[in-house]
Amino acid sequence: MATKASRSAARLMMAPAVILLLGWMLVPLIMTLWFSFRVYLPLRGGDQGWAGFDNYIRFVTSSAFWPSVQTTLIIVLGVLAITVIFGILLALLLDQPMWGQGVVRILVIAPFFVMPTVSALVWKNMFMDPVNGLFAHLWRFFGAEPVSWLSDASLPAIVMIVSWQWLPFATLILLTAVQSLDSEQLEAAEMDGAPIVKRFWFIVLPHLSRAITIVILIQTIFLLAIFAEIFVTTGGAFGTRTLSYLIFQRVLESQNVGLGSAGGVYAIILANIVAIFLMRIVGKNLD
């Protein structure tokens, strides 16, 4: 890619894609910024002029703000912990030679292909329904009182649903990492007298550290924005209102576009802080 001509040709040819992507991102971003400084109530008089920083102040001082941040954190951290720990265990298990390996691997990945809305509905109606759900039947089989998951244990229920969706992703990435480990290293450690648990701790886990960071990075970005799972299960009730759900409610349920946009700007800032933080960790891990 050396000559001047080829470089300018490359720029020209990439321009449409770059312009399209920039437009796609910049237009909504600028509109969000614009609305966040306006008093904009579509059903109560429309755009009513400048609001200054009122929307920003109102959004963080509302009683719903801090609980929603807390809910977001609980869901993100809970899902991360479950997917990483079980992802590592599943990856190690799937790495073992076994009969029907190909089919099993495809089945493990399958949940990732199910749309979030669909999987949340399946969980809600098939598993977690307090009367007819499979869990309810199981509980009754053992003589226990069925749990009404989505109202009494709403956060754990949502963490469970989202983990089920993201576990295949974590497993897949970690499985490829496990398979890239040089088997001679494990044999060397075996000869060096490391029993299986220590081989895992001193050889396998450090080898996986990079893959784990990548899983955490990618999942965090997506998990901060989960919406469908909450919308179709609890609708934000029972303490499951995350930051993104709060923004949705401000804009569409309260019909206050200005206030919602201010929340959106907070969410953008938060996501970027997380992204920069994680990029640094990944950068340190990649040599």
Binding site: E184, E187, A188
Partner: protein, 334 residues
């Protein structure tokens, strides 16, 4: 101490028997080399001794004690792998200390042993670096260091020099030989390179398809190969193996004559041929000769720079007293 005995050891992978029943004794302090073409089972044999593979039938004894069912760590053996198998996320010091840490040794003693190993192998300069920052030769030293700190009863080397360049290989070969002299510990060394086998070994075990073809000192194998396989495998360039009428003259199915045992003469001589490729190394010249009337092409080694070129006619005289004779089964006729 480090005597290793294999008794009727076999190994099968599924239905395929890669090692038919095999007996072998490796004496304490001996430098034994397993040599053979790739796929001959030499690495498998080493892994059986190490305990990384389970033997199918038979027994392994280490220092007279049955070690057949012992886990690798309990056999008191240390192994140096072809890929070195260093732990990439640990510094050189931690790599070397790893087996001692696993043995829950006292930290002061670990330090003492690691420093002693670093001294022996000259790796003090890069003891705090990670394996990724080292050259091939340095990694090799670290791998050996990790093996010697355990003070094992025997060292196992699995083609340790095959990832190094030619010059470094010669150097490391000497270092490993010197290490053996210094430690006087049993060493088992697997290679496909017969030069490594000849230069380092006290005892060479030549393997083909899992079967031991011959066991002996380098010069025994050179002077009296038991069959045509060993004859062709040991020595460089390869021994000329001649069949047909020429062999029948000596009452054999095959006769073998090493390139260095054929003299180039001005005229006359037993064989006359045309020079094909001539390799001038300065100290020696190797001629590949066609049209001798023999069934096989001949290789001849002449001392010094002999000024014969491609296409020249060459007169040759084999030293009949150095000739090896083999019967129809390829076995040596005494």
């Amino acid at each position: 101490m480090g005597q290793i005995q294999l008794k009727q050891v076999t190994k099968s992978f599924g239905d395929v028997q890669v090692i038919p029943p095999l007996d072998l004794t490796i004496e304490d302090g001996e430098f034994t080399v397993f040599v053979g073409p790739s796929g001959c089972g030499k690495s498998t044999l080493l892994r059986l001794i190490a305990g990384l593979e389970d033997i199918t039938t038979g027994h392994i004894e280490i220092d007279g004690k049955d070690a057949t069912d012992l886990v690798p760590a309990k056999r008191g053996l240390a192994m140096v792998f072809q890929s070195y198998a260093l732990y990439p996320h640990m510094s050189v010091r931690k790599n070397i200390a790893f087996p001692l840490r696993m043995a829950k040794m006292d930290p002061a003693e670990i330090d003492r042993r690691v420093n002693a190993a670093a001294e022996v192998l000259n790796l003090a300069d890069y003891i705090d670096r990670r394996p990724g920052q080292l050259s091939g030769g340095q990694r090799q030293r670290v791998a050996i260091g990790r093996a010697i700190v355990r003070e094992p009863s025997a060292f196992l080397f699995d083609e340790p020099l095959s990832n190094l360049d030619a010059a470094l290989r010669v150097g490391m070969r000497m270092e490993i030989s010197e290490l053996h002299k210094k430690l006087a510990t049993t060493m088992i060394y697997v290679t496909h390179d017969q030069v490594e086998a000849m230069t380092m070994a006290d005892k060479i075990v030549v393997l083909q398809a899992g079967v031991i073809e011959q066991v002996g000192s380098p010069l025994e194998l050179y002077r009296a190969p038991r069959n045509t396989f060993v004859a062709g495998f040991i020595g460089s360039p390869k021994m000329n193996l001649i069949t047909g009428d020429e062999a029948a003259k000596h009452n054999a199915t095959t006769i073998g004559i090493r390139p260095e045992h054929i003299d180039v003469v001005e005229s006359g001589g037993a064989w006359t041929g045309t020079v094909g490729v001539a390799e001038h190394l300065g100290s020696d010249t190797f001629f590949h000769i066609h049209n001798t009337g023999l069934a096989e092409m001949l290789t001849v080694r002449a001392i010094g720079d002999v000024s014969l070129r491609h296409g020249d006619t060459i007169h040759l005289n084999p030293r009949t007293e150095e000739m090896h004779r083999f019967d129809a089964d390829g076995l040596r006729i005494a």
